[in-house]
Amino acid sequence: MHNVLLLAFEYMKIGAVAIGGGYTVIPFLYYLVEKYHWFNVAEITQMIAVSNLTPGPIGINMATFVGVKVGGIIGSAFTTIAFMIPSVIIICCLAKFLKKNQENKYINFVMYGLRPAAVALIGVAGLKIMNTTFFHFEKFKAAHNLFDIISLKALILLVIFTAIGLKMRKNPMILIVLAIIAGCFIKV
């Protein structure tokens, strides 16, 4: 139990400083390994892989993983909740502030600059995912076959998914379900 509380406290600190999403937590995990030896570096790699494969925000997946490892199911509940507490407080205060100052012209000026940056960040996130799914540089290096660089199957799926996505704009969840079904039969 002592370990669990200590881990929850450490995770609350991480939650208070990790700005910019789940991946920023990773360096803190290495720090935890050095300080407490609750898990090892190889397990961090496994954690990242598993977090990518499971639904939900990656940061929560990793917090749960570390929690289960150190203190079982109770440990994982403590860690995950502790991790979220700082951001819940901060975002609620910020949301309240924004609501009060909706008409403030300076806030709207800031938002005017923020929106294009948000679009850019989302776009680059998409490009980074694309980079790993569509381009196989290792394969090319191994076989020196130009057709290996770009995955043709992935491109065809991209076209099909875009067509479905455009038709199903109101219901993007369907696309995810279709992709899971397609993944059972098609190897990209």
């Binding site: 990518n52 929106r115 294009p116 940056a117 776009g123 680059v124 995912i129 995810i176 059972c184």
Partner: protein, 211 residues
């Protein structure tokens, strides 16, 4: 930005349980990190429930990047807060995080087996493609009210370049916000308006006044 406020305050009061359930569903289909949350938020909160505008969600997304916590969690909290205040924010964030928590607790015991199944790996590479498609379709929709003049185009291009070179999103968002603020303070005349929706409204008013 202010279009739906009166409407949401008076006629729309979504129950906390419903809010939780919506975000739980979103959490279930959220693969590959929080970046993919926008299309789902749009379809559930803008189109179906009419709780907030796409413009607001884009603002929330940008702000979420520069405050502590997970991007998906923070965006959910902002949206939940818009719907039902603090209780709504907590319902939303619990909903969006619960599938992530449960899935790890459930598969923890047979973890090493799962990740080595080829079927599992192929499912996830196909999922990545679907997530890409969703992200780019979302961008198409965000475009019209985010990038509508030379200055916003400039911010967009600079931000893409900066993000490609792995500059922290924190720095990108802070600089973009300051740039927007400075530009509108220094060149108030050149800036038609800070917000496209307001712009349309004011234009509409002027027209009716003229008539």
């Amino acid at each position: 930005m202010t279009g739906n406020d009166n409407q949401t305050a008076e006629t729309k009061k979504i129950s906390l349980l419903k809010l939780f359930w919506i975000f739980f569903k979103i959490g279930l289909v959220l693969f590959g990190g929080g970046y993919a949350i926008l299309p789902f938020l749009k379809s559930e909160m803008c189109d179906k429930e009419n709780i907030c505008t796409m413009e607001e969600i884009t603002n929330y997304y940008a702000l979420s990047q520069c405050f502590p916590g997970l991007v998906a969690g923070n965006v959910s909290m902002f949206t939940g807060y818009k719907a039902r205040g603090v209780a709504g924010a907590i319902a939303a964030v619990t909903g969006v995080c619960l599938p992530a928590y449960l899935s790890i607790v459930l598969i923890f015991s047979f973890l090493s087996v799962i990740t080595h199944y080829p079927v599992v790996q192929s499912i996830f590479s196909v999922l990545d493609i679907a997530v890409c498609v969703l992200i780019f379709l979302t961008i198409l929709e965000l475009w019209e009210f985010s990038i509508y003049d030379k200055f916003t185009m400039f911010i967009f291009i600079t931000a893409v370049a900066a993000a490609m070179f792995n500059i922290s999103p924190f720095i990108i968002v802070i600089s973009a916000g300051s740039a927007g603020l400075l530009r509108n303070i220094l060149l108030p005349k050149a800036a038609k308006c800070a917000c496209s929706e307001k712009c349309e409204k004011e234009a509409g008013k002027e027209q009716s006044n003229d008539a």
